[in-house]
Symmetry: C2
Subunit: 342 residues, 2 copies
């Protein structure tokens, strides 16, 4: 049977001051009127039921996300510590396999913007089928729409069948020129949408992910705390996918965004004629290209361009959009009383 693992992590700094521990990014309506995580769950509708959907997340997000998603309590897996994606995915995959030895698992994130759910399900199902048919780890590579420098790329290799290809190599965040060349050569974005069987993932971890080996015995005993304390944190990409030869890629032909920064809202939310994205009570005059968000007080802006202007959680942020990906540099040094949200 097909299973889903929804991964929810992140410290939330990139949407300061909107995202907060009690209302993390995944629970914000950053791609539509619905919170991202509810969209992620709804996107699985008809493909994988809630009973076979696991949420893997940290202590901070478990309660608010679990409440919002309405998953069975047993399906919420709370990591004892943040240890990157390989331990989380291995644990969740093992849990699915424990309940269903023939489980084929789809891994996705709770904070994506994917407007076309049907297209997502079509390509996700292709990923699951490819994983089952060829007994490989599958990554669904998003067909790029711009030379994005913030993502990793997958270079496809020899065909496995009419849809799937082997992976020639992974490339981490390239510069813009390299990104354009990669796209010209047919490279795809590495989104984190993966599929595999429990047995195949376990075999590839045993073959390649030495960082996790000290914890495997504990994991097999069901000692999750022991697993997490014995392992060395490593991402699924570095620890497994980039080292294994049994990795395939299928194309994801849907619009996808990881909603990583304030700037991403210009891609995920509707824009007015002047390219402004607004949320809440916002009044503009001769303003263009701004991202303006208010959770309460009206924001009135005049003749300002390409700014991020936010009122949320009792803080106000004003900065150019181009700095959005560096927001951490601004926020981290703030006095804790200003920086920290509840």
């Amino acid at each position: 049977m097909n299973w889903a693992i929804i991964v929810a992590g992140g410290s939330g700094t990139r949407f300061w001051p909107l995202s907060s521990p009690s209302r993390p990014k995944q629970l914000l309506p950053l791609a539509s009127a619905e919170p991202l995580a509810l969209e992620a769950l709804a996107r699985l509708d008809g493909l994988i039921p809630k009973e076979r959907t696991l949420l893997v997340t940290g202590q901070a997000l478990a309660r608010p996300l679990g409440d919002a998603l309405g998953l069975p309590a047993a399906n919420i897996l709370v990591e004892p510590r943040a240890a990157s994606t390989a331990p989380a995915l291995l644990w969740a995959t093992a849990e699915a396999t424990r309940r269903d030895p023939e489980a084929v698992v789809l891994s996705l994130h709770a904070d994506w913007a994917i407007p076309d759910a049907a297209a997502f399900r079509r390509d996700a199902e292709l990923g699951l089928r490819t994983a089952a048919t060829h007994d490989v780890l599958v990554t669904v590579g998003i067909v790029p729409t711009r030379p994005e420098t913030g993502y990793g790329y997958i270079v496809p290799g020899a065909p496995l069948d009419e849809a799937a290809k082997q992976v020639a190599r992974f490339t981490e965040k390239p510069d813009a020129e390299t990104a354009a060349t990669l796209i010209g050569d047919g490279a795809l974005w590495n989104s984190g949408l993966f599929a595999w069987s429990g047995k195949r993932l376990r075999a590839e971890v045993e073959a390649h992910a030495k960082e996790l080996h000290p914890g495997l015995a504990a994991l097999d005993r069901g000692d999750v705390a022991g697993f997490f304390s014995a392992l060395t944190p490593v991402s699924i990409d570095v620890g497994v996918l980039e080292r294994s030869k049994r990795v395939a890629v299928v194309p994801g032909r849907f619009t996808w965004d990881d909603v990583g920064t304030w700037d991403a809202l210009a891609r995920t939310l509707p824009r007015d004629e002047a390219g402004n994205v607004t949320y809440g009570a916002v009044h503009l005059k001769d303003a263009s290209g701004n991202i303006i968000w208010s959770d309460g007080p009206p924001i009135v802006a005049w003749e300002v361009d390409d700014l991020v202007i936010v009122h949320a959680n009792g803080r106000i942020l004003v900065m150019p959009r181009v700095l959005a990906s560096d927001l951490k540099k601004l926020v981290d040094p703030l006095p804790p009383g200003i920086r920290d949200l509840t």
Copy 2:
């Protein structure tokens, strides 16, 4: 005896969203930690006592300003309608003269920034003395510090004595080039700091201010409502000073600002090394030349320059400083629920 008339008017749009009916500009700390109106009163200390200080203002400001200033109730003159400065000053001067037939009156505004109170008193006293000695209407002309295009200018004429001169002419808001030429020729800013005796003002009104003539009989009866309803609104400058030949000017050698717009705060409040003026909880990084005011929530700004950023009365305003004098154009068309403050 010397009397003072403090004039307080204005609709408050120019400091939106900070100034409000219950807390007008005159009660805001726009030049120091003290509200402007309290500074105006304190500035008279030792020159004219509270008992001989009259406040003339409209219905909306009478209560909050009267409470703040602590003047005797009989000294608060509430205009039945806004009718520009000539009716207000004629009425208040008549009221001073009724109580003290030998009154020489100093007229000033409640919203000025004048850091050197002693210098102000010295030149104000010179104005009062000149009014008494020469039996003229006196305007204290501020020695200009920049080619300001937002003020009127006074061109001095022939000397009356070692300090005072006749007024050759008044010039309304010039362009920048004309302003520079005027300053080169010794012109002074027309601030609204005036001095005169009750008899002289009345005589000049009778000779020149035909707009007020229909109301004079009512004024003489003490029928203020009748006075205001019969007259045609006119400023003291247009109705009297520009028409009369009995007008003298003495120089005001103190720093003066009418704190007319958000932009003025860059002149009246302290600036940081990067030229930012801030009030309240403001955190800046690589930002310069901004005017940032918060009455509550912290404002965090990064790499923005020469903006006005305000949170006040539950509204947020963001605009370039250079537009500050046109703020009315932005605010007037706003929905009443956003625009109107309480």
